[in-house]
Amino acid sequence: MSIRDDFPILNRKVNGESLVYLDNAATTQKPQIVITAMNDYYQNSNANVHRAVHTLAGEATEGYEACRNELKNWFNAGRVIITSGTTESINLVAHAWARANLVAGDAVILTEMEHHSDIVPWQLLAQDIGIELRFVSLNEDLTLDLDAFEASLVGAKLVACVHTSNVLGIRNPIEKIIKMSHANGAKVLLDSAQAVPHEKIDFKDLDADFLACSAHKMCGPTGIGCLLVKEDSFNQMQPFMGGGDMIQTVTISGSTYQENEHKFEAGTPRIAEGVGWAAALKWLSKIDLHSEHLRLLEIARWTAQQIKDIPGMTVFGRHADGDSAVVSFIHDSVHPEDMARLLDARGIAIRTGHHCAQPLMQRLGVEGTMRVSFYLYNNQAEAELLIETMKGIVERFS
């Protein structure tokens, strides 16, 4: 059995051609086992999880909390708050931690390669409580300017930094960033949406204060993600959303809150999604992520080189060890959207646009790029088909 056999969607035909799905940085496909787990949940165990006494409620509770346990094991993390995704996780840090622990004038450090989800929450907070935002610039080769980063740290209370860029595939030197930040008394929030699918992370070892990620980018369902939090920061967090399940007692005159992660999980949780994510983690744990990472990176390097050799093409990113298997590029006469539609006519799915990283687009001097991104079920043959098809398109339409 190959990995591909686990993914039913790969049997899909698009415009009469076999699907070649190269849009994995946007979202990944799901192995059958994940789909089946959610199916089974709905067909056999669906119930709400609060105060489970009856059998189904017990099963639902076990299923949902198993997700948290899987995540704790997967990441070697003590505190795992389940959210609807990376975006909500980052907003949770802004509301539950930053709002309670930062004051006007405190600096939050961002980078020029952040995803909007790690920019806008801080801009909204800045408007509200007057924190200062500092954007660290990039070097010529589009890596983070660590000197500029170091200089920015004076007076910084939080560094919110993308772990691996969704546009460039560049993995930031987060280990260094964490050390430098801590040495300057700043906490670190990692936006690991793109890193988590490609590298196994040991949260305790890494020593970051917060880490945000989404299930849907690592073979799990939509609608669920998590925030890992270090114990001391966890204890500094104030409730964000209020509601059922996050409380200990509610009276008309005031309420007390849960002491564990439930404090930040108001309302009926994402139960089926938790069951699905747990199944995805179990599936992933059978795969040697590191050797897959090397395989995919090789394909990305080959693809980047081939694209560079097509007349009129410019490729962004460096594809160094540890970078993710993402290739962003533009052509000097074929518009990204046209390229994507033409590739789609041959069943090849790529993404175009600003990839929710407009400040980076400005830095690159473009409005948007084409982007191909590889994941576990992709192979060299698909990359070759992509290149061949693109060459034909450029010849015919440029």
């Binding site: 518009h335 959207e337 046209d338 006519a345 041959r346 175009t352 646009g353 015919r396 339409f397």
Partner: protein
Amino acid sequence: MTWPPALQEVIDEFSEIEDAMERLEVLMDFAEEVDELSEEEWSDENLVKGCQSRAHVVLEKRDNTIWMRAAADSKMVQGLMGILTIAVNGGTVEQVLELTPDFVLEMKVLNTLTPSRSNGFRTMFDMIQKTVKEMK
């Protein structure tokens, strides 16, 4: 719905094409049907917001008929503009307002009309009708 004859002709032309890429190629050929804007007219005022490509549209009313000029940096978007030109140009306000955008689905050149998160065609179409409505 029944389409204006000129548009129906275009739809028929597309319906004969089996290959998806060829269909897009023909779509791009329609870029030439557009009465192009001058460089200065690529202004924010005429910008179609929400497009991935830069797209500008200008509408004029002469003797109760509507005429559009446009330009886009995507050849396919300009092709869509070309088809819109065929659909719109010379039509009355009423005729333009009667149009629905789903002819592009019938032509199989787009796979969704959901505004804002998809391509800007729907946004462009809506903007044209809104502008024309104000010309009533």
